[in-house]
Protein backbone atom coordinates (compact mmCIF):
# COMPACT_ATOMS: atom_id res chain seq x y z
CA UNK A 1 0.00 0.00 0.00
CA UNK A 2 2.81 2.42 0.81
CA UNK A 3 5.40 1.14 -1.66
CA UNK A 4 5.45 4.41 -3.56
CA UNK A 5 8.56 5.50 -5.41
CA UNK A 6 9.62 9.02 -4.46
CA UNK A 7 9.49 10.76 -7.80
CA UNK A 8 9.07 14.40 -8.70
CA UNK A 9 5.42 13.82 -9.51
CA UNK A 10 4.83 12.22 -6.14
CA UNK A 11 6.49 15.08 -4.26
CA UNK A 12 4.50 17.67 -6.22
CA UNK A 13 1.30 15.68 -5.72
CA UNK A 14 1.91 15.39 -2.00
CA UNK A 15 2.66 19.10 -1.57
CA UNK A 16 -0.35 20.17 -3.59
CA UNK A 17 -2.72 17.83 -1.80
CA UNK A 18 -1.38 19.02 1.56
CA UNK A 19 -2.07 22.64 0.52
CA UNK A 20 -5.56 21.74 -0.66
CA UNK A 21 -6.60 19.77 2.39
CA UNK A 22 -5.13 22.37 4.75
CA UNK A 23 -7.08 25.06 2.89
CA UNK A 24 -10.29 23.07 3.04
CA UNK A 25 -9.95 22.31 6.76
CA UNK A 26 -9.05 25.94 7.48
CA UNK A 27 -12.16 26.92 5.55
CA UNK A 28 -14.19 24.87 8.00
CA UNK A 29 -12.48 26.18 11.12
CA UNK A 30 -11.83 29.88 10.46
CA UNK A 31 -14.17 32.40 12.02
CA UNK A 32 -14.48 35.29 9.61
CA UNK A 33 -16.24 34.60 6.36
CA UNK A 34 -13.75 36.62 4.29
CA UNK A 35 -10.90 34.49 5.61
CA UNK A 36 -12.84 31.38 4.58
CA UNK A 37 -13.04 32.66 1.01
CA UNK A 38 -9.28 33.33 0.97
CA UNK A 39 -8.48 29.81 2.19
CA UNK A 40 -10.86 28.48 -0.49
CA UNK A 41 -8.79 30.39 -3.06
CA UNK A 42 -5.75 28.41 -1.84
CA UNK A 43 -7.70 25.20 -2.48
CA UNK A 44 -8.60 26.36 -6.00
CA UNK A 45 -4.98 27.25 -6.82
CA UNK A 46 -3.74 23.92 -5.46
CA UNK A 47 -6.27 22.17 -7.65
CA UNK A 48 -4.98 24.11 -10.66
CA UNK A 49 -1.48 22.86 -9.86
CA UNK A 50 -2.84 19.34 -9.72
CA UNK A 51 -4.40 19.78 -13.17
CA UNK A 52 -0.97 20.83 -14.49
CA UNK A 53 0.40 17.64 -12.95
CA UNK A 54 -2.28 15.68 -14.85
CA UNK A 55 -1.21 17.33 -18.15
CA UNK A 56 -4.39 19.37 -18.41
CA UNK A 57 -2.83 22.82 -18.78
CA UNK A 58 -5.84 24.49 -20.34
CA UNK A 59 -8.17 23.28 -17.59
CA UNK A 60 -5.63 24.48 -15.04
CA UNK A 61 -5.63 28.01 -16.40
CA UNK A 62 -9.40 28.01 -16.70
CA UNK A 63 -9.48 26.92 -13.06
CA UNK A 64 -7.29 29.85 -12.02
CA UNK A 65 -9.33 32.32 -14.08
CA UNK A 66 -12.81 31.12 -13.16
CA UNK A 67 -12.43 29.83 -9.62
CA UNK A 68 -9.48 31.63 -8.07
CA UNK A 69 -10.48 34.79 -9.92
CA UNK A 70 -14.16 35.09 -10.67
CA UNK A 71 -15.90 32.84 -8.14
CA UNK A 72 -13.80 34.05 -5.19
CA UNK A 73 -14.42 37.69 -6.09
CA UNK A 74 -18.11 36.94 -6.55
CA UNK A 75 -18.30 35.39 -3.10
CA UNK A 76 -16.48 38.37 -1.56
CA UNK A 77 -18.99 40.63 -3.30
CA UNK A 78 -21.76 38.51 -1.86
CA UNK A 79 -20.31 38.97 1.63
CA UNK A 80 -19.79 42.69 1.18
CA UNK A 81 -23.34 43.21 -0.06
CA UNK A 82 -24.89 41.26 2.79
CA UNK A 83 -22.97 41.56 6.06
CA UNK A 84 -19.64 43.30 6.18
CA UNK A 85 -18.06 41.73 9.22
CA UNK A 86 -19.91 38.46 9.17
CA UNK A 87 -18.59 36.01 11.74
CA UNK A 88 -19.67 32.41 11.68
CA UNK A 89 -21.17 31.85 15.11
CA UNK A 90 -20.90 28.51 16.82
CA UNK A 91 -23.62 26.16 15.65
CA UNK A 92 -26.16 25.83 18.38
CA UNK A 93 -27.14 22.28 17.44
CA UNK A 94 -24.42 19.84 18.52
CA UNK A 95 -26.55 16.82 17.57
CA UNK A 96 -26.93 18.11 14.03
CA UNK A 97 -23.19 18.74 13.82
CA UNK A 98 -22.30 15.29 15.11
CA UNK A 99 -24.69 13.61 12.68
CA UNK A 100 -23.22 15.58 9.78
CA UNK A 101 -19.70 14.62 10.83
CA UNK A 102 -20.66 10.96 11.08
CA UNK A 103 -22.30 11.10 7.65
CA UNK A 104 -19.28 12.75 6.03
CA UNK A 105 -16.77 10.42 7.66
CA UNK A 106 -18.72 7.29 6.81
CA UNK A 107 -19.11 8.46 3.21
CA UNK A 108 -15.35 8.96 3.08
CA UNK A 109 -14.83 5.51 4.57
CA UNK A 110 -17.02 3.89 1.93
CA UNK A 111 -15.30 5.79 -0.87
CA UNK A 112 -11.83 4.99 0.49
CA UNK A 113 -12.68 1.30 0.82
CA UNK A 114 -14.06 1.23 -2.73
CA UNK A 115 -10.99 3.00 -4.15
CA UNK A 116 -8.58 0.73 -2.31
CA UNK A 117 -10.29 -2.55 -3.21
CA UNK A 118 -11.01 -1.81 -6.88
CA UNK A 119 -8.46 -3.11 -9.35
CA UNK A 120 -8.39 -0.62 -12.15
CA UNK A 121 -7.80 -2.34 -15.52
CA UNK A 122 -4.63 -1.66 -17.45
CA UNK A 123 -4.57 1.30 -19.79
CA UNK A 124 -5.03 0.35 -23.42
CA UNK A 125 -2.62 3.05 -24.54
CA UNK A 126 -0.75 5.75 -22.64
CA UNK A 127 -2.25 9.21 -22.44
CA UNK A 128 -1.30 11.37 -25.41
CA UNK A 129 -1.89 14.99 -24.45
CA UNK A 130 -1.05 16.21 -27.94
CA UNK A 131 1.51 18.84 -28.84
CA UNK A 132 -0.72 21.73 -27.87
CA UNK A 133 -3.30 21.01 -25.19
CA UNK A 134 -5.32 24.17 -25.85
CA UNK A 135 -5.49 23.52 -29.58
CA UNK A 136 -6.52 19.89 -29.10
CA UNK A 137 -9.30 20.90 -26.71
CA UNK A 138 -10.45 23.65 -29.07
CA UNK A 139 -10.61 21.27 -32.01
CA UNK A 140 -12.56 18.73 -29.96
CA UNK A 141 -14.96 21.43 -28.70
CA UNK A 142 -15.74 22.63 -32.21
CA UNK A 143 -16.10 19.19 -33.79
CA UNK A 144 -17.44 16.48 -31.48
CA UNK A 145 -18.91 18.63 -28.75
CA UNK A 146 -20.21 21.62 -30.66
CA UNK A 147 -23.88 21.16 -29.68
CA UNK A 148 -23.25 20.84 -25.91
CA UNK A 149 -20.86 23.78 -26.22
CA UNK A 150 -23.50 26.01 -27.82
CA UNK A 151 -26.17 24.85 -25.37
CA UNK A 152 -23.83 25.69 -22.53
CA UNK A 153 -23.23 29.19 -23.87
CA UNK A 154 -27.01 29.72 -24.01
CA UNK A 155 -27.29 28.42 -20.43
CA UNK A 156 -24.58 30.79 -19.26
CA UNK A 157 -26.24 33.79 -20.92
CA UNK A 158 -29.64 32.91 -19.46
CA UNK A 159 -28.14 32.34 -16.01
CA UNK A 160 -26.31 35.65 -15.92
CA UNK A 161 -29.28 37.65 -17.21
CA UNK A 162 -31.41 35.87 -14.61
CA UNK A 163 -28.89 36.72 -11.90
CA UNK A 164 -29.00 40.40 -12.84
CA UNK A 165 -32.80 40.41 -12.85
CA UNK A 166 -32.99 38.69 -9.44
CA UNK A 167 -30.40 40.90 -7.77
CA UNK A 168 -31.70 44.13 -9.27
CA UNK A 169 -33.37 46.48 -6.84
CA UNK A 170 -37.13 46.58 -7.16
CA UNK A 171 -38.15 49.48 -9.40
CA UNK A 172 -39.14 52.32 -7.18
Amino acid sequence: MFNIAITGEFVAFFTLSAIMICGAVLMLSLEKVVHMVISMAAVFIGLAGMFVLLEAEFVAFVQVLIYAGAVSILMIFGIMMTKHHAVEQEPSKPLHQTLAAIAAISLFGILFYAIRTTTFPEQQQPFQPGEDNTMAIGELLYTGYVIPFELLSVLLTVAFIGAIVIAKKEAD
Binding site: Y67, M81, A86
Partner: protein, 100 residues
Protein backbone atom coordinates in the same frame (compact mmCIF):
# COMPACT_ATOMS: atom_id res chain seq x y z
CA UNK B 1 -1.26 7.01 -8.90
CA UNK B 2 -4.92 7.05 -9.91
CA UNK B 3 -5.99 5.81 -6.47
CA UNK B 4 -4.14 8.70 -4.79
CA UNK B 5 -5.92 11.29 -6.90
CA UNK B 6 -9.27 9.63 -6.23
CA UNK B 7 -8.54 9.61 -2.48
CA UNK B 8 -7.71 13.33 -2.42
CA UNK B 9 -10.88 14.05 -4.39
CA UNK B 10 -12.92 11.95 -1.93
CA UNK B 11 -11.43 13.88 1.01
CA UNK B 12 -12.27 17.22 -0.57
CA UNK B 13 -15.78 16.03 -1.36
CA UNK B 14 -16.40 14.88 2.21
CA UNK B 15 -15.04 18.12 3.69
CA UNK B 16 -17.34 20.03 1.33
CA UNK B 17 -20.30 17.86 2.30
CA UNK B 18 -19.67 18.40 6.00
CA UNK B 19 -19.35 22.15 5.50
CA UNK B 20 -22.52 22.33 3.42
CA UNK B 21 -24.45 20.46 6.12
CA UNK B 22 -23.07 22.32 9.14
CA UNK B 23 -22.30 25.91 8.16
CA UNK B 24 -25.01 28.48 8.69
CA UNK B 25 -23.79 31.39 6.59
CA UNK B 26 -25.29 30.95 3.11
CA UNK B 27 -22.16 32.26 1.34
CA UNK B 28 -20.09 29.57 3.04
CA UNK B 29 -22.61 26.91 2.05
CA UNK B 30 -22.23 28.04 -1.58
CA UNK B 31 -18.44 27.84 -1.21
CA UNK B 32 -18.71 24.29 0.10
CA UNK B 33 -20.82 23.35 -2.92
CA UNK B 34 -18.05 24.73 -5.13
CA UNK B 35 -15.56 22.58 -3.22
CA UNK B 36 -17.62 19.46 -3.94
CA UNK B 37 -17.87 20.32 -7.63
CA UNK B 38 -14.10 20.85 -7.71
CA UNK B 39 -13.54 17.39 -6.26
CA UNK B 40 -15.62 15.94 -9.08
CA UNK B 41 -13.53 17.89 -11.59
CA UNK B 42 -10.37 16.39 -10.15
CA UNK B 43 -11.85 12.92 -10.64
CA UNK B 44 -12.76 13.67 -14.26
CA UNK B 45 -9.29 14.96 -15.12
CA UNK B 46 -7.57 12.11 -13.26
CA UNK B 47 -9.57 9.54 -15.22
CA UNK B 48 -8.78 11.38 -18.45
CA UNK B 49 -5.10 10.67 -17.83
CA UNK B 50 -5.06 7.38 -15.92
CA UNK B 51 -8.34 5.78 -17.01
CA UNK B 52 -8.73 2.69 -19.17
CA UNK B 53 -9.15 4.70 -22.35
CA UNK B 54 -7.25 7.94 -21.75
CA UNK B 55 -8.39 10.83 -23.90
CA UNK B 56 -9.17 14.53 -23.73
CA UNK B 57 -12.88 13.90 -23.18
CA UNK B 58 -12.51 14.07 -19.41
CA UNK B 59 -10.95 17.51 -19.67
CA UNK B 60 -13.82 18.67 -21.89
CA UNK B 61 -16.32 17.35 -19.33
CA UNK B 62 -14.53 19.21 -16.56
CA UNK B 63 -14.71 22.42 -18.60
CA UNK B 64 -18.47 21.93 -18.91
CA UNK B 65 -18.71 21.35 -15.16
CA UNK B 66 -16.73 24.52 -14.44
CA UNK B 67 -19.11 26.50 -16.65
CA UNK B 68 -22.21 25.17 -14.94
CA UNK B 69 -20.61 25.79 -11.54
CA UNK B 70 -19.90 29.41 -12.47
CA UNK B 71 -23.53 29.89 -13.51
CA UNK B 72 -24.64 28.26 -10.25
CA UNK B 73 -22.43 30.56 -8.17
CA UNK B 74 -23.77 33.66 -9.92
CA UNK B 75 -27.41 32.61 -9.45
CA UNK B 76 -26.72 31.60 -5.85
CA UNK B 77 -25.20 34.95 -4.91
CA UNK B 78 -28.02 36.80 -6.68
CA UNK B 79 -30.67 34.85 -4.76
CA UNK B 80 -28.72 35.47 -1.57
CA UNK B 81 -28.68 39.23 -2.13
CA UNK B 82 -32.40 39.27 -2.91
CA UNK B 83 -33.13 37.20 0.23
CA UNK B 84 -30.93 39.46 2.34
CA UNK B 85 -32.87 42.44 1.12
CA UNK B 86 -36.16 40.80 2.08
CA UNK B 87 -35.24 39.13 5.37
CA UNK B 88 -32.15 40.99 6.54
CA UNK B 89 -30.14 37.86 7.30
CA UNK B 90 -27.83 35.41 5.56
CA UNK B 91 -28.37 32.65 8.08
CA UNK B 92 -29.71 29.55 6.34
CA UNK B 93 -31.62 28.48 9.46
CA UNK B 94 -33.80 31.55 9.21
CA UNK B 95 -34.85 30.96 5.60
CA UNK B 96 -37.77 28.81 6.67
CA UNK B 97 -40.80 30.67 5.36
CA UNK B 98 -41.97 27.73 3.23
CA UNK B 99 -41.95 25.45 6.29
CA UNK B 100 -44.56 27.43 8.18
Amino acid sequence: MLASYLTVAAMLFCIGLYGALVKRNAVVVLLCLELMLNAVNLNLVAFSKYGVVPSLTGQIFSLFTITVAAAEAAIGVAILIALFRMRGTVNVDEFDKMRR
